[in-house]
Symmetry: C2
Subunit: 337 residues, 2 copies
DNA sequence: ATCACATTTGCTCGCGCGTGCAAAAAATCT
DNA sequence: AGATTTTTTGCACGCGCGAGCAAATGTGAT
């Protein structure tokens, strides 16, 4: 079948012929810093335009062993913050010439499969923006040299073979703790996300440590099996029902906004409490819903765009750095605390 | 540089040698319905396992002109429903052996660029789940044979070169209209999304038509420049401020939940109205937030998974069908109306 | 054991482009 | 103008695999 010719699959050879140059000159015309004269580049581009040619990135990747493709591994679509991260990441990546393979980690045990998918497409890097990445899984993936680079985005990792780009959780949570103490709350309650092996609970630890240091008492802590408002809602109800008023927390510090939203819903609609008059709440991430009039969450905004830009420099290999990258974000004071 | 060998890039040839068969037998072992004996498949798989081999999909795509890759073009990350769609689509696609290239359409004029990106990776199909796809853009893309298939997901399109997979908007909205009339609301207000050329406003038209038919009057209509709760919030305030109580709508029918959320926030927090006692609200999509205790939106759930499954059969070429696919969803009655 | 037929295996050629170097052309200098 | 340097262009080879066919092997009936 001459299907390809029929289907108008124009190759560099066709353009070369039309422009009266060699195929290599054609491909050079499409390569930003190639050694080519302005004149022939223009000739080529005109011919290419006319024929509707665009380089086949499959062939280019195969030949060069660089794909300019990264895999985005996501395992947690219930957290609205993921949408924000995906938007920012794909935007910054695309602006810098990178394409994104979105890989849905179907369940907890799918990490190897997801990594395999990515590696079969020969991605230059895998970026993890999920939560349930086990150190074992990561090491296995790296051991088999499944992917060239593994980057944990917006989350800390202490795995030495991995680079993480994240906010400085310790500094951020200390700031939140200080703010809460400054408002003179007395009975804090920390609502954490899933307790995994890989994600070290820096936020929780930082908050607890700060509180102990200044108030000499250990805040109460509870965890939720996933960063899902619905789960947080149930967790709060389970944990705080049948509690005497004087044992009820006066501020709930949440590991992120997804949890904060669930907590606020539970406080208002199940316990009939006012926020922040009866109980205050803080979040983390500054998701879009945090700004809406229902919630108005006092939270902490991560500099996602800057983090994504750092990611790009890291991908380009400009940064030889293999140590984790930490960023400072900023507190956003609203009405919930 | 012998970088590749160093990097442990094991190819089918290596496995073939280890297993004592030819390279083609190795590749056949990885192809589900290939002509190969069970015995040699096992031999191959064991050798492959030991060497850590997995087929290079880049090379396979190049040679076969099929990539098993689809591009997901998204231009509207502010609507939380997109997260749901992405999760379902990537899940179903991956289960069926398809990978997903996530392409962020950076702005209104980026459609050609996004399509180009996709085509350079030789995707087998481009799936549009955004909103601002202009018919002109689509035609241009198809005219240049940029992509083999163009599929509009969860949205109608009347472009003849395009296949859309969507819910039957007319039936759905008629059902909502009947529900609203059954509850005896008198002054409906329809809140629509962006008015584009390509997206025919089936929901709005269906609602208006139904209302006219049964009540002999034309509902008031307003539109919002994007499916963003924040925009809907402002739009409602702009449109309904300084209006006499008897001219105020008693039900706001929204084109989707993103708008409904914004509308509810505005009604409650700006106008100090109760929902549904003072004003009722309906949505569409049944996003996760629609179920949370703050909103409890009466809405309409699209059968996204079934739609995604249809998409897969369409991609596999099992369906020769080129006409649009319509699905029926189901109304979800909650408290907002 | 022989033949007819079905199943399995091997192989040639090509997919479209990049790498690294050598040849050609252009620019600069004496 | 001729010699030298710099820029630009062309090319052999390979990236890893698939289509389609030919050779080899296996199966069952006679």
């Amino acid at each position: 079948m001459s299907d390809r010719k029929d289907a108008n699959e124009v190759t560099a050879d066709d353009v070369a012929q039309a422009a009266g140059v060699s195929r290599w000159t054609v491909n050079r015309a499409f390569k930003p810093n190639a050694s080519i004269s302005a004149k022939s580049r223009q000739t080529v581009m005109e011919a290419a335009e006319k024929l509707g040619y665009a380089p086949n990135l499959l062939a280019a990747s195969l030949a060069s062993d660089r794909s300019n493709l990264v895999a985005l591994l996501v395992d947690d679509f219930s957290n609205p913050h993921k949408l924000v991260m995906m938007e920012r990441l794909t935007r910054v990546l695309r602006k810098n010439g990178w394409d994104t393979l979105l890989v849905n980690m179907l369940d907890k045990d799918d990490a190897p499969g997801a990594l395999l998918s990515a590696s079969q497409r020969r991605v230059d890097a895998a970026i993890l923006i999920g939560v349930q990445f086990d150190d074992d899984v990561l090491s296995a993936a790296l051991g088999a040299r499944r992917v060239k680079k593994l980057i944990i985005f917006a989350r800390n990792s202490e795995n030495p073979d991995t680079i993480s780009i994240s906010v400085d959780d310790h500094a951020a949570m200390t700031e939140i703790a200080d703010y809460v103490m400054g408002r003179d709350y007395q009975r804090p309650f920390f609502l954490a996300g899933p307790q995994t092996k890989s994600a070290h609970l820096t936020r929780q630890e930082a908050f607890v440590a700060r509180w102990q240091e200044h108030r000499g008492m250990t805040p109460e802590v509870a965890d939720v099996p996933s960063y899902d408002p619905g789960m947080a809602y149930s967790a709060i109800i389970d944990r705080l029902s049948e509690r005497q008023p004087d044992a009820f927390p006066d501020v709930i510090v949440c590991e992120n906004d997804a949890l904060a939203i669930g907590a606020m819903d539970a406080l208002r609609h199940h316990f009939n409490l006012r926020i922040p008059e009866d109980v205050a709440v803080t979040g983390f991430d500054d998701v879009p819903a945090a700004a809406n009039p229902n919630y108005r969450i006092t939270t902490y905004r991560q500099p996602i765009t800057r983090m994504a830009e750092r990611l790009v420099t890291l991908l380009s290999g400009e940064l030889e750095q293999t140590e984790n990258q930490q960023f400072l974000g900023q507190m956003v004071i609203r009405n919930s605390a």
